[in-house]
Amino acid sequence: MELTGAEIFVEALKREKVEYVFGYPGGAVLHIYDALYKQEDVQHIMVRHEQAATHAADGYARASGKPGVVLVTSGPGATNAVTGIATAYMDSIPLVVITGQVPTNLIGVDAFQEVDAVGITRPCVKHNFLVKDVKDLALTMKKAFYVATTGRPGPVVVDIPKDVTANKAEFDYPETISMRSYSPVVPVDLSLVETAVDYLLQAKRPMIYAGGGVILDNAAEELIELTRLLGFPVTHTLMGLGGYPATDDKFIGMLGMHGTYEANLGMHNCDVLLAVGARFDDRVTGNVDKFCPTAKIVHIDVDPSSISKNVKVDVALIGHVSVFLRELIKGLKARKQKPDPEALAEWWKQINEWRSMDCLKYDRDSERIKPQYVLETLYRITQGEAFVTSDVGQHQMWAAQFYKFNKPRRWINSGGLGTMGFGLPAAMGVQLAYPNDTVVCVTGEGSIQMCIQELSTIKQYGLPIKVVNLNNGYLGMVRQWQEFFYQRRYAMSYMESLPDFVKLAESYGHAGILVTKPDEVEAALQEAMEINDRAVFLNFITDPEENVYPMIPAGGGQNEMILV
């Protein structure tokens, strides 16, 4: 039977078992909305801004491991979605984003609400398509899901002109697909596994540095097994948190610009580094010329272009993280050998010495609410079981440092692009994926205002999200840099004319709680956890000039940390 393009689109979503489409209607996608209206399998979540649609789909994808789906109209709908697409791209999150387009006969004439969506999104997608003929639509949708979810995942945009959604074609949706120009699974070369095992066994001062690839490839179990087998210390990037349990003794904290003293010094002094699904980002390496000066580096990554891009590595294991971790485990077990126990004990002694510096210490007797205390308490009250999304800034770093993630996919943040405004819409996607779990959005008074309109969406769908607003009255991270590097000239980092967040939340139909004293923090959080019929906005008035420590200044080496 022939279907319209709009119907083909909806059928394709069903075949892909899509639960939710996050979107916003407009002229170019009206046929599609009509087709969505006539069915009940795919639920459309109506956001208040297209940026939020992409972040919500992104949060859904990060938490569930399934691709997030977005539907926006042409022109401004597409451009509003770009920030979210770029956010997903930087963190390798699988999204399929459908943008409406003006009818094919109007493409190129500056028609109403026409933008070159394929052109605008090209640098921030894994791939994109313009569907010019309805006969190509089903196959293109299949390709979009396939490309987005395989290999190194990423966002894929499908631009569909309005007439294509009205025209009819036979619906033929392939079960599987292969593309001659795309092979997501690089043939695994096992010949280097033995070399890697040699390095690991000879190590005297080893480190495991694991990133978002562990989460994306669901390789936490393998990482845990390998780490325990070896007895090595393990550190996570911002994107890797939750891969290895944070409360386990082998975990020495996050590394990088705001990483722990022990993790960064461990990196700086190690002799063998096993990098797992991490990409040697500049926020991790600091000055690359000073990075891990004495280490031999073994790098596992699914993306060949990540290998030796920023830092030259000695052994490259190109392929899925889980596959190579299993191979390493197998290789190690076969050898019946262990790394030198004396050297390892010596190394742990050194690491524990660094650890005893207690680099995350803060003033626990302060009259003011310390943001770190809020997050510690949040961790305690939720028993580490919450899904935590965050925005970007100091609060993000504190959340990463103080909430101990023991499970993967619980920590949801924009690491690569650092997108303020991500946290709240992302929390919507997470809560939809896990309706019965606690979802907390840790944010600041700056970031939250970038997508605050989503409180309305949250009301509409009854999502009991807990917003933890660490309100320091400043764009705190900007202020911190200005304090350290611009002699306290606080240019534009003070947030003037803030709304009354409690009233604001209430006007959207949510609960609002103002917290001004440290001894109110715990009770307020407890109270918030009890409210489950709407969202709760906790407005914590925190110490305005608290800083995130440790800090590696831009251009510094990993051993050049500013400590509290």
């Binding site: 394929v118 052109g119 894994k126 120009s181 060949p304 272009s305």
Partner: protein, 163 residues
């Protein structure tokens, strides 16, 4: 170092801009770029002449391979290969200069393909160095217009860049 990278590309709209966009976004050099369909109309062959350190060339190759529209590629410079570029060049050629110019064209194995009372238009093929050498030999004063196709390349021996 200068590298000649040959790419088999899906012959689809937008494929060219993906490659060009990659080079500009990541700050890689393009000295020249030539592209046309192959005997298989679904495939284009693109030749990019670029330069950079070994690390940069490695990244260029990897990043190109990552593009979904890139089916296959090879760095011609890694092995024996033939490089050719076509140039059409219009020269001032008045009566007394004609003999001299003609001789130079012959030395370079070019051909005069169009003649007016004041000009010669010359067709010349060869590697880029040869075309440069001709331009130098003829001298700036003589040149009215230069069109170069950008280099294309093909591997010698049995190495072929095909599906």
């Amino acid at each position: 170092m200068r590298h000649i990278i040959s790419i088999l590309l899906e012959n689809e709209s937008g494929a060219l801009s993906r490659v060009a966009g990659l080079f500009s976004a990541r700050g890689y050099n393009i000295e020249s770029l030539a592209v046309a369909p192959t005997d298989d109309p679904s495939l284009s062959r693109m030749t990019i002449v670029t330069s950079g350190t070994e690390e940069i060339i490695e990244q260029i190759v990897k990043q190109l391979n990552k593009l979904i529209d890139v089916v296959k590629l090879a760095d011609m410079t890694e092995g024996a290969h033939i490089e050719r570029e076509l140039m059409l060049i219009k020269l001032r050629a008045e009566a007394e200069q004609r003999e001299e110019i003609k001789r130079l064209v012959d030395i370079f194995r070019g051909r005069v393909v169009d003649v007016t009372t004041e000009t010669y238009t010359v067709e010349l093929t060869g590697d880029s160095d040869k075309l440069d050498a001709f331009i130098n030999a003829i001298g700036k004063m003589q040149i009215i217009e230069v069109v170069r196709s950008g280099s294309i390349g093909i591997a010698r021996n049995g190495n072929s860049l095909v599906l």
